[in-house]
Point group: C2
């Protein structure tokens, strides 16, 4: 099973690496990180670079496409070539998935029209504006072959869900145990429903940029 | 605040990138990925490479040291130079932290003698054999300035804990909300206490390698 993970300048690293660590452990998985050009691609914080081992035109028919989010989605939206690639490879995928504001790219490529989908909590309106039936109620949304996750860390939950559907519950559970995914956050502030209201308001008013027209995540 | 993340061949990617995504968002954080030599470093699954932007001898006094785990720990244990570097920079850190079998390296460097510490569930005996007071009861263990996490994904919880201690609860909660860390795993198999017993036994009998003398994770 061939899995392609899209990289672009200023992607959010955990959006890509969280799901990678899960999906890459499915027996028979062959993962390729791909970007417009081969070589290192910097994430949004500037201090991390992941290597794209293949250029987009070398990756033509992945079974699974994973699109991370990040502030760099704005640049991709202005780059028809990457959106064209997403649309082209989607034609043959079994699963097309996104994390965080990566769903904005799927939507802009015309893949989410009318479909239920999610994104980072701060980008839900943008996702709706791009034609998707955006929902912030679920952490992972599956509509047909399109699987979208909420912000950043939600990609791990998405990947376990996909692993179960691709390889069965037992394999998914084995991977969960290998990566010891028994989360115990020391705070309960991971969603707008549980974080202090003043914090949510403060971030909404900030330059938090997860994609176009908003300014982190 | 300078944060150094150690890389070495066959590290586990999420061990490094999970905490990075949290700690790197602390205001004023300056993160550097470092390895024996500058350049791309491949993780255990082979399909991911992170760039080391500095060689070890260029990183002399980080405030925070983060050591990920992975099958490659076996090679590091046989490489006195990396252990020497860990010991040297630890002398000036405020926090020295590890994820997964990364704690085996801290222990081998002589930093965990008699200290309470944890590691991946499959490596607890090895950690004890290296002189630490190994415990599998807690996902994150803090003893003095040494913070150690259980397997792979536990580094996210560790990093939130450290963020709170370094920058205060509100900053940690803000980062948690930005990365939307409200985990909802679709299975309850992330620990040996909750996974099906047959699965635990199967993985114990397998070549699961998180470090020396065991064979994944």
């Amino acid at each position: 099973m061939r899995i392609a993970v899209l990289l672009y300048d200023r992607f959010t690293a955990l959006d890509a690496v969280g799901p990678y660590e899960i999906l890459g452990r499915i027996p028979g998985a062959e993962v390729v990180f791909t970007a417009a050009r081969r070589g290192p691609v910097r994430s949004d914080l500037g201090s991390l670079a992941l290597t794209a081992d293949a250029a987009l035109d070398e990756v033509t028919a992945p079974d699974v496409l994973l699109v991370p989010g990040g502030p760099g989605t704005a640049g991709v939206l202005a780059d028809g070539a990457v959106l064209d690639w997403i649309r082209d490879v989607d034609a043959a995928t079994t699963w097309t998935a996104s994390v965080c504001s990566g769903s904005l790219l799927l939507a802009a490529a015309g893949l989410l029209g009318g479909r239920r989908a999610t994104t980072h909590w701060i980008a839900l309106e943008q996702l709706a504006a791009l034609g998707a039936a955006a929902t912030g109620e679920e952490r992972v949304v599956v509509d047909g072959k399109y699987a979208t996750a909420a912000g950043v860390s939600a990609g791990i939950d998405l990947a376990l869900e996909l692993t179960g559907r691709i390889a069965g519950d037992r394999t998914a559970q084995a991977v969960q145990l290998v990566v010891e995914y028994q989360p115990r956050p020391p705070y309960d502030a991971g969603s707008t429903a549980t974080a202090p209201a003043s914090l949510v308001a403060s971030l909404r008013a900030s330059s938090l940029d997860v994609g176009p027209a908003v300014a982190a995540g």
